[in-house]
């Protein structure tokens, strides 16, 4: 009955051209109304100062604030209205629920937004499919996974052009899909028109430093309890910069290949190898650390239903790095072809799921932080009396 009433109400609202809030959005709006009357958490991050510039929370505001939230946990532990208080304020949890919804809502093409909902399954299917693809390709190309000549290099198994032909479209598709998604998100909440250089600079700085995992006092955010830790920030840095270094290694290698005509494999101390080795190790340590922290995370942080997505993404990055490093070690051994197929399969799965998994958080959050950097430079429309 209540569902029917809600549906009727929503239908009427839609007919009148009003925007209808989803259940997670309604919950965020309810909680922010409480937060806005309290404001004790203003020092922790950007969410609360951004909140105080508003009196009401529409759909666009909620999407923006949800993506600004880093799920650091500080406001939950400090909250006088957190459960078991009857106001039941848990900002990290309610924001996380909306965040997932925004990824799905803004996904391109829209139909694939579904992939966020059962992301564990999405990731598993992508990994299984991609692994199978490369193992079968290996068999098809070489007839055998193990007994291949030892002096062989990667490109004698998978010709360079075949790999480029497989990975380049998938990667470009991921860039396109995420780009179109974040563009829609960006247009929904538009503070001012342009982005002043200072705002861009600040947003980039805050993204790259993970400013909002510092607790506002620089001593870190929460993980298992109300104590602070800098390890979430450190492991995320190791993951993020490790990923970037690996990406840089691939990019440099591509330039070597096409511009200089230097063909892989590269050995130490060549630049691609150096970048790849440091990046790979960093990614390995970072993702292992994040996984461990995730296992010990306070049960009230974030949305428990999203753990498969979070852990799946962490695992995918971990195995990308592990298989890549193993490949280095296995060069010239009989297991190389099988390992190569495994590595390529994992990387392919990672690329395939970039626009439909946890990776999206980096894109949407960076956009939200740029919005905040722009917005905070605009005068507030409110004149809340103080004296």
């Amino acid at each position: 009955m209540t569902t029917l009433l809600a549906l009727t109400r929503d239908a009427r609202a839609l007919a009148n051209g009003e925007t209808v809030l989803s259940a997670p959005e309604t919950e965020v709006a309810r909680q922010l109304q409480i937060c806005n009357a309290c404001r004790y958490c203003e020092g922790f991050c950007a969410v609360f100062p951004a909140m105080t510039r508003r009196l009401e929370f529409g759909k666009a505001d909620i999407h923006y604030l949800a993506n600004l939230c880093h799920n650091c946990g500080a406001c939950l532990h400090a909250c006088q209205y957190a459960p078991p208080h009857e106001f039941a304020v848990n900002v990290p949890e309610s924001m996380a629920r909306v965040r997932l919804q925004t990824y799905a809502d803004y996904a391109w093409p829209p139909a694939l937004g579904q992939l966020y909902q059962r992301n564990g399954l999405t990731l598993s299917l992508a990994v299984a499919g991609a692994l199978a693809l490369f193992l079968m390709l290996t068999l098809w190309l070489k007839d055998n996974l193990f007994r291949v000549p030892l002096e062989i290099n990667f490109y004698t198994i998978f010709p360079h052009n075949l790999l480029v032909g497989l990975f380049a479209p998938v990667f470009l598709y991921a860039v396109l899909a995420l780009g179109l998604g974040v563009r829609r998100f960006w247009r929904e909440v538009t503070p001012g028109t342009g982005a002043p250089g200072a705002a861009v600079g600040e947003a980039v700085h805050d993204v790259l430093r993970l400013k909002y995992l510092d607790g506002g006092h620089g001593e870190g955010c929460n993980n298992a309890d109300d104590g602070w830790t800098l390890w979430r920030r450190r492991f995320h840095h190791a993951t993020f910069y490790g990923f970037l270094l690996c990406f840089a290694a691939t990019s440099v290698a591509t330039l070597y290949h096409y511009l200089a005509g230097w063909v892989a494999p590269y050995d130490l101390p060549s630049l691609p190898k150096l970048l790849g080795a440091v990046g790979g190790l960093s990614l390995l340590v970072g993702t292992a650390g994040l996984f461990w922290l995730n296992l010990h995370r306070h049960p009230q942080h974030g949305d428990a239903a999203q753990k498969p997505m979070d852990r799946g993404f962490i695992a995918l990055l971990f195995f990308t790095s592990l298989s890549g490093l193993a490949l280095w070690w296995a060069r010239g051994t009989a297991v190389m072809p099988a390992l190569l197929a495994a590595h390529l399969g994992v990387v392919m799965a990672l690329f395939l799921t970039l626009p439909y998994g946890k990776f999206a958080h980096g894109i949407f959050r960076s956009a939200a932080m740029l919005k905040w950097a722009i917005e905070k430079r605009l005068p507030s429309k409110l004149k809340l009396g103080d004296e």
């Binding site: 203003e42 020092g43 004296e387």
Partner: protein
């Protein structure tokens, strides 16, 4: 045997426990609440009023001792002990480094609190973050902590503390610090203290409690019965007009209604009863609880129009909204004719000059009683909003008399091993009235004093000797 027993689990208790532990004493802290509700009213606080002679990190300009003292003298109307008050004021200028050592962090003043940027240091994340930090530090230092352990009585012999009872369990200690809060959560006691009014109502039955439900005043009553010297009037309490829809307990800061000075306030008979524009709201909000308590049914309604929206701190619950004043009266359940008479009379009496709600402006009424002396503008722009108000009790003033060592007194003589801090003795400094953050200044100063003195007394050879002898006798 434990050296120092701390009874209570809020700011003052934690300050006492930490100081005693730092002095080398073994400490057991008994918190009445379960872990998730620990910290008493401290969890609802947000800042500490601090004396300072020059700008300090989050504090602007200067707030010298004399100015702090004059502010305190003004709000208490002289119901304060100058010696103890100045002790608190001086302590407030030096305690923050110690607080930081135990994990408390400060932040610049929150938006909408510019008036406090000079006088008050805000805790990052508010009082619950402070309470969490103190508990973490206490655990790390080896303070034993027990939750769900309300103490119902003490064994006191000739002004000397022997033991505390949690239900049937007897807990002995060399010294004891009482820091278990006021009695504001004890509804029967409030009922008794406020009594019956001329209309036969029990006003306190309609009060809401802004803070913890665990401040039952058990030990205040027990200490009275034990003959401890008391201070303060049980009918005095910090009482604010809050949203009538607030929860019975722990509504905290969000339930305040900050639009009183921007509109009018009427009672159940739709009559105005006090000058809404007498002074800036932060200077007047604390009298409105009592004003509302004196109205029939202990209810009132703050009425504003669209012009006020966006000019006051957003309230936690949306107001009752209407497109016309008669509709608003009906929605609020007020007599429409009486309401319109009041509002029309007020609107006609407004002499609007230059409206400025950041100054005591020249917008006022003429020819109505009570007058509205500032910010008086006709309530004439739809939509209109109404907020029902009830009295909300923040804390009570009744407590135990102390000296500068925070010692409990019996017949004018200080106990050698029983000390008290926080709301249980705040009345020594704050006999009535309130100024933002002063409760935390008192709790921090006297919590630290009580902890230090309790540790000193426990570790003094003479007392230990006496205890040992007595233990020997018992054995």
């Amino acid at each position: 045997m434990i050296d120092v027993l701390v009874i209570g689990g809020g700011n003052a208790a934690l300050c006492a426990a930490l100081m005693a532990r730092e002095a080398g004493a073994s400490v057991l802290l008994l918190e009445a609440a379960p872990r998730e509700w620990r910290g008493g009213n401290s969890g609802h606080t947000r800042n500490l009023r601090c004396m300072h002679d020059a700008p300090q990190d989050v504090l602007m300009d200067a707030y010298p001792e004399e100015e702090f003292w004059q502010d305190l003298l003004k709000v208490t109307g002289g119901q304060t002990n100058e010696h103890l008050a100045r002790l608190v004021i001086r302590a407030s200028s030096t305690c923050r480094d110690w607080m930081r050592q135990h994990g408390v962090r400060f932040q610049p003043p929150l938006s909408g609190t510019l008036s406090l940027s000079r006088t008050n240091a805000f805790f990052m994340g508010g009082g619950k973050a402070l309470v969490n930090a103190y508990y973490r530090s206490a655990e790390k230092l080896g303070v034993q902590i027990r939750y769900e352990s309300p103490v119902d009585r003490l064994d006191i012999q000739d002004g000397h503390f022997k033991a505390a009872y949690v239900g049937g369990e007897r807990i002995e200690a060399r010294t004891c610090v009482l820091a278990a809060g006021g009695f504001e959560s004890n509804r029967e006691w409030l009922r008794e203290a406020w009594g019956q009014n001329a209309d036969g109502e029990w006003p306190a039955d309609n009060f809401l409690i802004r803070g913890t439900r665990f401040n039952q005043g058990t030990l205040i009553r027990h200490m009275t019965e034990q003959g401890a010297d008391m201070i303060g009037d049980p009918t005095q309490s910090h009482c604010v007009a809050i949203d009538a829809r607030a929860p019975l307990y722990d509504g905290g800061i969000v339930t305040r209604i900050d639009c009183v000075s921007l509109g009018v306030v009427v009672n159940k008979k739709a009559q105005r009863f006090y000058d809404e524009g007498e002074d800036f709201w932060p200077k007047r909000y604390a009298i409105w609880g009592r004003l509302v308590a004196q109205q029939p049914g202990q209810m009132a309604y703050s009425i504003i129009d669209a012009k006020a929206v966006g000019r006051f701190m957003p309230p936690v619950f949306p107001g009752v909204k209407a497109d016309s004043l008669p509709e608003l009266a009906r929605k609020l359940g007020l007599d429409e004719a009486a309401f319109m008479q009041t509002l029309n009379g007020y609107n006609a009496a407004c002499r609007v000059g230059t409206f400025d709600h950041t100054a005591l402006d020249d917008c006022h009424t003429e020819g109505i009683t009570p007058a509205k002396t500032h910010w008086a503008r006709p309530i004439d722009t739809a939509p209109f909003y109404g907020y029902a108000l009830k009295p909300g009790i923040t804390f009570t003033y009744l407590g135990l008399k102390v000296n500068e060592q925070a010692a409990v007194h019996f017949g004018g003589r200080p106990s050698d091993n029983l000390f008290v801090a926080g709301e249980m003795m705040a009345g020594n400094v704050l006999g009535k009235g309130y100024t933002a953050g002063v409760g935390m200044s008192i709790g921090t100063a006297f919590g630290r004093i009580a902890g230090t003195q309790a540790a000193k007394a426990a570790l003094t050879p003479a007392l230990s000797q006496r205890e040992r002898e007595q233990e020997g006798e018992v054995a």
